[in-house]
Amino acid sequence: MDKTQNNKAWFLVLPVLVIVAFSAVIPLMTVVNYSVNDTFGNNEFFWAGLDWFDEMIHSERLHGALGRQVMFSAIILAIEIPLGIYVALNMPKKGIWASFCLVLMALPLLIPFNVVGTIWQIFGRVDIGLLGHTLAALGIDYNYTNDPLDAWLTIIAMDVWHWTSLVALLCYAGLQSIPQAYYQAAKIDQASRWAVFRYIELPKMKGVLLIAVLLRFMDSFMIYTEPFVVTGGGPGNSTTFLSIDLVKMAVGQFDLGPAAAFSIMYFLVILLVSWVFYTVMTNLDREESR
């Protein structure tokens, strides 16, 4: 749709600007302020320049957390995206069963994050949890509080449980928008199941899939509550992701300067990735509307 040029539209955007400025710009400026100052308490600040940034860029701790974070995001994307597509392809198309599946699938999405953590914390415990108990009964040595590998597996299973439905629901919505005629045409051409998927369904899901990848990447990159409840970042530091490390540094040890420098770099990484995705997305939009 061609839009009218009208700078008065700014007045309509004003309320949003005020609210978001209050809850985003002011706090962000505080963070920037901390990142270039040093403090010994009592609200006395000393100019520290870029020292904190320098320190954080070379910090082993940050590198470790970043490495674990990237690995975690990569693993859950590799599992959730294909699984989500597969589930979406198998969902009933309409009727009471479709509603039934939709409601059950959306359920994990609406559970508070820490309750998700609690559910899996209980579920995985060897003494009282179904999963832990079953594995122990099968003779598998499983203990997510001691063994880093088990902790990772538990957190990945939890994230798959929690978020695969989002990918599946997005893909399902994408599939719903394909006209029936496309499938009939494919049938006449005697296209194989794979060909139907590859040349009809996948291209139609491209837009929603991109959004699914973006959302899952962002949210997994910011993950805090769920692993914190399940493992508390342990055993050792093996499941300490970026957000967990950041909160530990800022609230636990009150190292404001380094934590603020850390925040800003964290934010910039996310900004960069979302800009790339946003550009690709708007280009896709333009191609489709052409």
Binding site: T4, N7, V13, S23, T30, V103, L170, A173, L246, Y266
Partner: protein, 267 residues
């Protein structure tokens, strides 16, 4: 034959989703001794005492009330400010509109952990610490951009001729917006409200940082069960079950819109 295999896949997937929830429900109906001493798939000694504890103790049930208050406040604020903004984005081009839109979106993408400490200081300094409105405003950080994004998608689908006809008929802008335009995008408002509700309801990091007693959300109250006498598993599980219920109710009401909202691909 194909129908059958897809039914099996769905059944397995739903089973995978439901088992952990079932286990929580199962535990919430057991006594603590049964939880720790024996291992049973069904509660042998069915008890509702865990739920009774929560529903009779104000420090527990006020957590639910607090959560619901700030979630509703947040949803109302987000939708109210997002409506005119989304209209502006969908109808007009103005100086810096694309940059503004992207900047709004980046707030949806910013990690709450980055904002936790500054928020705490900001709201303390203006005397809003431990109030419902503080949490509601803090959650606007990610919900307002989201609401603008969803609503803009729905509004783009409404032909511009409707606006023009209404103006010719002598409608003023506010009257046109409320009487004609809002009913047209009612389902969009529903979807946006659903997602605002959802993200505000599940968020914990900010709501815990910004509250101490008076506005403490249920999710933060749950950490209380780690007490002197060990874990009170039964009550913890019961509290967890009760946090699932509002979400389940909301899903049930909007189930027919969910697919449509997702179809716009704007979450």
């Amino acid at each position: 034959m194909r129908l059958k295999s897809s039914a099996i896949v769905m059944a397995l997937y739903l089973l995978f989703l439901m088992i952990p929830i079932y286990w929580l429900l199962n535990m919430s109906l057991k006594t603590n001794t049964e939880i720790t001493s024996t291992f049973t798939l069904f509660p042998n000694d069915l008890t509702f005492s865990n739920f009774v504890v929560i529903l009779t103790d104000p420090s527990w049930y006020m957590g639910y009330v607090n959560s619901i208050i700030y979630v509703v406040m947040n949803t109302v604020i987000s939708i109210a400010v997002a409506l005119p903004a989304a209209y502006a984005f969908s109808r007009y081009s103005f100086m810096g509109d694309k940059h503004l839109f992207f900047w709004l979106l980046t707030n949806r993408m910013s990690p709450p952990a980055v904002f936790a400490l500054p928020f705490f200081q900001l709201y303390s300094s203006v005397g809003l610490f431990d109030t419902h409105i503080a949490v509601a405003l803090a959650h606007c950080l990610f919900n307002v951009p989201l609401a603008v994004w969803i609503l803009e998608g729905f509004m783009r689908g409404v032909p511009k001729e409707i606006d023009e006809t209404a103006y010719i008929d002598g409608y003023s802008f506010p009257r046109f917006f409320v009487k004609i335009f809002m009913p047209l995008i009612a389902s969009g408002i529903g979807v946006a409200a659903f997602f605002c509700f959802m993200f505000s309801w599940v968020e914990l990091l900010l709501s815990r940082t910004l509250t101490s007693v008076n506005a403490k959300p249920i999710a933060a109250t749950m950490t209380r069960t780690v007490s002197a006498s060990g874990m009170d598993w039964g009550v913890l599980a019961a509290a967890g079950v009760l946090t699932i219920i509002p979400g389940a109710l909301v899903i049930w009401f909007v189930r027919n819109y969910i697919a449509k909202g997702f179809a716009l691909g704007r979450v």
